[in-house]
């Protein structure tokens, strides 16, 4: 079996990213959209780690730590927003949230 190259990793990351983006676009539930967003973030993380591994320096991995930290905070805020939204509107469906429309 041939060894794993950088392109394998980048392909997997691209697949993950496309999956996430598709989810964000077509899913209706806010929580699922949220999980898809996280998947896109992790696809980016995967590319960073892969570049770091194959270029032989640690810059990419350090950046990944930051991304994970920010993502954790973002998840906390985002989920709290969704919970608050549910309390007011009794829904987490994206198409019910049209208040900004004139």
């Amino acid at each position: 079996m041939e060894p794993l190259t950088l392109n394998h990793y980048l392909g997997a990351a691209g697949l993950l990213f496309t999956l996430g983006l598709t989810g964000v676009i077509i899913r209706r539930d806010l929580i699922t959209i949220y999980m898809c967003l996280e998947m896109m973030l992790n696809a980016a993380n995967l590319t960073l780690v892969a570049f770091s591994r194959f270029n032989g320096n640690l810059d990419g991995q350090i950046l990944v730590f930051f991304t994970i930290t920010v993502a954790a905070a973002e998840v906390a805020v985002g989920l709290a927003l969704i919970v608050a939204l549910y309390r007011i509107r009794q829904t987490t469906k994206a198409e019910d949230l049209t208040a900004l429309k004139f």
């Binding site: 983006l21 964000v24 676009i25 077509i26 899913r27 209706r28 959209i33 994206a94 198409e95 949230l97 049209t98 208040a99 900004l100 429309k101 004139f102």
Partner: protein, 592 residues
């Protein structure tokens, strides 16, 4: 030891305000004791029995030092004796006069604060220390004029006094800053004037006139004189102490203290002399038509202050200080006499409701008579000598001012006789006057002591000029004697013939009665202008800031937001799709 001179009244004010206010007897004891202690120390300093303390440095910067200390020279010795001596007598008088007032402790705390600030002005060694105490005097004057603060007239008068003083003090402050920038120091020391020798003449004139502004405010010269007559709303002992004997004289004292600066600019001295002379005549004219006994005395004070300032402007500051000393005694005497009368009349101040008090209040009558003679310049009373000295100074430098001053002397005799006859002679013109009786001893004893000074203080003149200025101006008497005797005699004769046995004023001159309409003039110019500015500011606040900026920006943001809502479809997934499409397009454009 000598520091107690300054600190005793301050400690008294603090102790009474913080601790002993509910205990009236104790508060009175503390306050009178403190001023008595100050008086004793002032006597000690006067006799060189107590040495002046070494000053300490308050602020020290590179090349600039401000000291707090005592400047003890003949000028300040004399003034210290006047301030603490008259202050002590007036404290004692107040024991009787304010006896029934519920706020008597507060009154004595404020009197102590005033004595503290006034002593500070007198002993100040530099401009900055003087300015600090100068402002403190303004504050204590404000507090005492507004002592009966529940009376609207009293609190209005207090604010008027404070604001007029502030206008003058602002000029004084600018003058001090200019002095500092020119000489690099603020000390009262003629040695520091060396850098001024190369300075352009008009800069010096501006500086001297700015310094004079302080005197204009504090000593109530035209055009800032309006506060002094209104200040009579305060209790009568306050009028005697602050608005006749000491505080208003602080301006004259300051001019004498800084005369070494003033004399650098002869043209500014001319302005000072003319302001003084015009104030003297102007106030005397108004005094002839006032009905309130205290207001007559207030305008008389203005007139006498004008005399003193005129004397300084003519270069004769020893004569001014001499008149300041005698005036402090006889004007305090007259005010306290008026206080005694007002006390007996149950706080009636209209002289046309008095009359026939000669028999009922013999001590007040005789002491008031001595005060009247001294103020009118009857020969051999103290006022005579000092007035002659000022007339002589005026004749030597400005003959025109001499005639103004002589006319003022005649008017003074006239209005004092008018007051004297109306109050003490003729029938009783009201119920209260019929039942009046003599005041208690605690009030009459200070009257008697002050009248002794009013009688004899003039004889110190022969040593005083030498005491104040060993090598300076001599006081001359002989040459102007005929003129002054004639004007005083004609004033007396006119007053006697007009006001004998009158029950209401036979003369009515609206211009004098309404004080030359100066208050009305200020109402219609300065006050109207201020009101206009106030309304303009209110309009700007309401419409430009409130409506335009605050609400306007909120309105703009709100309308902008509503406008942007037009572009919203309300479909989150649609946004995400378009967003990713946009990113893809961007990437395509960049990398192809």
């Amino acid at each position: 030891m000598a520091w107690l001179l300054l600190l005793a009244p301050l400690l008294s004010a603090v102790a009474i305000t913080c601790f002993t206010r509910p205990f009236k007897k104790l508060s009175l004891g503390i306050s009178v004791g403190a001023v008595a202690l100050s008086f004793l120390i002032a006597l000690g300093l006067f006799a060189d029995f107590i040495p002046a303390p070494t000053p300490f440095t308050w602020i020290e910067l590179a090349g600039f030092k401000i000291e707090i200390g005592f400047l003890i020279d003949p000028l300040s010795k004399l003034m210290l004796l006047i301030v603490t001596g008259v202050g002590l007598l007036i404290h004692v008088f107040s024991l009787g006069y304010m006896h029934d007032d519920p706020g008597v402790s507060r009154f004595f705390a404020k009197l102590s604060l005033f004595i503290f600030s006034m002593i500070g002005i007198v002993v100040a060694t530099n401009f900055l220390m003087m300015f600090i105490f100068w402002e403190l005097v303004g504050v204590s004057s404000y507090l005492l004029i507004g002592f009966w603060y529940e009376k609207t007239t009293a609190s209005d008068a207090a604010r008027k006094a404070f604001l007029s003083n502030r206008v003058g003090d602002f000029g004084f402050m600018l003058g001090i800053i200019l002095f500092w920038s020119l000489t690099g120091t603020v000390a009262f020391d003629s040695g520091v004037l060396v850098p001024l020798h190369g300075v352009v003449g008009y800069t010096l004139t501006v500086m001297v006139l700015l310094l004079f502004c302080g005197c204009v405010g504090k000593s109530a010269m035209i055009p800032l004189h309006v506060w002094l007559p209104d200040a009579m709303e305060g209790p009568t002992p306050v009028s005697a102490l602050i608005h006749a004997a000491t505080m208003v004289a602080a301006g004259v004292y300051m001019l004498s203290r800084i005369f070494f600066v003033l004399e650098l600019s002869p043209s500014a001295l001319d302005v000072i002399a003319w302001v003084g002379g015009i104030t003297a005549l102007f106030a005397a004219l108004i005094a002839t038509q006032q009905d309130d006994i205290k207001r007559v005395l207030a305008y008389s004070t203005l007139s006498q202050l004008g005399y003193m300032v005129m004397a300084v402007g003519c270069g004769g500051w020893p004569a001014a200080m001499f008149h300041l000393a005698t005036h402090a005694f006889f004007k305090a005497l007259l005010f306290l006499g008026a206080g005694s009368i007002i006390h007996a009349m149950h706080h009636e101040q209209d002289m046309w409701k008095m009359g026939g008090l000669r028999k009922k209040m013999p001590v007040t009558f005789w002491t008031f008579a001595i005060g009247t003679c001294a103020l009118s310049g009857i020969p051999f009373f103290s006022g005579f000598f000092s007035k002659e000295a000022i007339l002589a100074v005026a004749l030597n430098s400005h003959p025109a001012l001499f005639w103004i001053a002589a006319a003022t002397a005649g008017l003074t005799a006239f209005y004092m006789l008018r007051l004297f006859i109306t109050v003490f002679f003729g029938p009783a013109k009201s119920e209260a006057a019929g039942h009046a009786h003599e005041s208690p001893a605690v009030m009459t004893v200070p009257l008697v002591i002050l009248s002794a000074f009013a009688l004899f203080a003039g004889y110190s003149a022969f040593g005083l000029s030498h005491f104040l200025a060993p090598d300076g101006a001599e006081l001359h008497f002989a040459m102007i004697l005929p003129v002054s005797l004639i004007v005083v005699a004609s004033g007396l004769v006119l007053g006697f013939s007009l006001y004998r046995n009158q029950t209401k004023d036979p003369v009515l001159i609206p211009l004098f009665k309404h004080k030359f309409f100066i208050d009305e003039l200020y109402d219609h110019t300065i006050l109207a202008f201020q009101n206009f500015l106030g309304r303009l500011a209110a309009w700007c606040d309401q419409w430009v800031i409130g409506f335009g900026l605050v609400r306007g920006s909120a309105f703009g943001a709100s309308v902008g937001g509503e406008f942007l809502r037009l572009f919203q479809a309300g479909n989150i997934r649609g946004y995400a799709f378009l967003f990713s499409l946009g990113v893809a397009l961007l990437l395509y454009l960049i990398f192809s």
